[in-house]
């Protein structure tokens, strides 16, 4: 196997490990905020590693660019989603008055 393939294997394995961490966090952590914290960070790092590993296998730069695009949009979506769900949970618990609807 070539160097790029070894790197790709490493990135994919690392990505799978991050996904596993995220799922364990979602299942085992106490409280919504802790679970939110575990999931949104670990999973998107995992997706980034998987995308990197696949980009190293890709035949063309276009494929690599599309993988980067998917990851970029995923990052924005995950950031905003985490923000929205955290606010929702805060408001649901009758939280502080500082979180307007």
């Amino acid at each position: 196997m070539t160097v790029a393939e070894w790197l790709s294997v490493g990135a994919l394995a690392l990505g799978a490990a991050f996904f596993f961490t995220g799922t364990v966090g979602l299942l085992r952590f106490p409280g919504t905020f802790a679970r939110l914290h575990a999931l949104t960070k670990a999973d998107n790092l995992g997706l980034g590693c998987v995308a990197l590993g696949l980009a190293l296998q890709a035949d063309s730069a276009w494929v690599a660019a599309k993988l980067a695009l998917v990851w970029g949009v995923a990052l924005v979506a995950a950031t905003v989603s985490a923000h929205l769900i955290a606010r929702y949970t805060l408001r649901e618990r009758g939280g502080t008055g500082r979180a307007p609807p």
Partner: protein, 318 residues
């Protein structure tokens, strides 16, 4: 070996999820499981090498239907109640009757399908063999807009009729849809404008890409229309598009334009080409792309308006 294991796990997961969606007593649990089912369904289509269906399933099954169910759940939830409301259960004997009847129906259909003779020459093979006559390179688009164009036309008419029907029902109620967001400028999460600035242009780009893709690879009007509809839902929920009681002339044009264009080109085919809904020699690709553009709008707008529960939408920026 490993792909067999993947497929078996996928099948097992699908069946388990399907049972859970129906059997779960908590309403919100069913909603989330339904979204998971839609996502897994997209993976199933991917495994069956049907990316067109995977695209449609991801956009409509998981995306639009998921958003519709979530919004409906939220809108119905009483304000003081934080927990997961249990739905009123059907009495056990009626549930049993329904289960036995639907089980018998499934068994009867299964029996009938198993009894069918496999056709010697399937229409799919003939469509693949005569792909060159259609003017496009994607076999799916060739079937949808050339070989079986009449089905596609009827489907869009059905969608339009569904929209009209929903309007007739919703009008006297006066309270369909998620209700207007009073003021997008005040009290909005700080990251929401960022999300819209990324998602909306990206979504329009992806819709255009899918529309153009339809000619030579998986994609087409239905997928592009579903993406635009999802963007409409996003803008509607964030108050950028406000529901109004009047359908504007531009909206009317978009609602019926695709159908009128498709029918007009189809009827012209009777004179200029061999038959109704046939395309003149050499013009097929151009006309198909034109029709698909019209259909994209004719699919996106009714879906957005059905979600919105209003007759029209008006832009209201910040």
């Amino acid at each position: 070996m490993i792909d067999r294991a993947f497929d078996l796990l996928l099948i097992g997961g699908m069946l388990g999820l399907a049972v859970q969606v129906v059997a779960s007593r908590a309403l919100f649990r069913s909603v989330v499981l339904f979204i998971a089912l839609g996502l897994l369904m997209a993976v199933v289509w991917a495994r069956l090498a049907a990316p067109d269906l995977a695209l449609a399933e991801a956009a409509i099954g998981a995306g639009l239907t998921g958003a519709l169910l979530l919004a409906a759940y939220r809108a119905l939830q009483p304000a003081g109640e934080a927990g997961d409301a249990e739905p009123a259960a059907l009495p056990r004997r009626w549930a049993l009757v329904a289960a036995v009847l639907s089980g018998a129906l499934v068994a009867a259909i299964g029996w009938a399908v198993l009894g069918l003779e496999p056709p010697a020459a399937s229409a799919g093979r003939e469509a693949l063999a005569r792909l060159g006559e259609s003017g496009v390179k994607s076999p799916i688009t060739a079937v949808l807009l050339s070989f079986r164009a009449v089905d596609t036309l009827a489907e869009v008419v059905v969608l339009f009729a569904a929209f009209l029907g929903a309007r007739v029902v919703a009008e006297p109620l006066g309270r369909a849809g998620p209700g207007p967001r009073p003021d997008p400028a005040g009290g909005e999460p700080v990251l929401m404008p960022l999300l819209l600035r990324v998602t909306v242009p990206m979504g329009v780009l992806v819709a255009g890409y899918l529309l153009w893709s339809g000619g030579h690879q998986p994609g087409g009007a239905f997928q592009a229309g579903a993406v635009l509809a999802a963007l409409g839902v996003l803008l509607r929920l964030t108050g950028r598009l406000q529901p109004v009681a009047e359908t504007s002339p531009a909206e009317r044009l978009a609602l019926v334009g695709g159908i009128v264009l498709f029918s007009a080109i189809g009827l012209a085919g009777a004179g200029m080409a061999s038959a109704v809904l046939a395309y003149p020699e050499g013009w097929a690709y151009t006309l198909i792309l034109l029709i698909e553009t019209g259909l994209t709008l004719a699919i996106a707008l009714p879906l957005t308006l059905l979600f919105s529960g209003s007759a029209g939408l008006r832009w209201r920026g910040r």
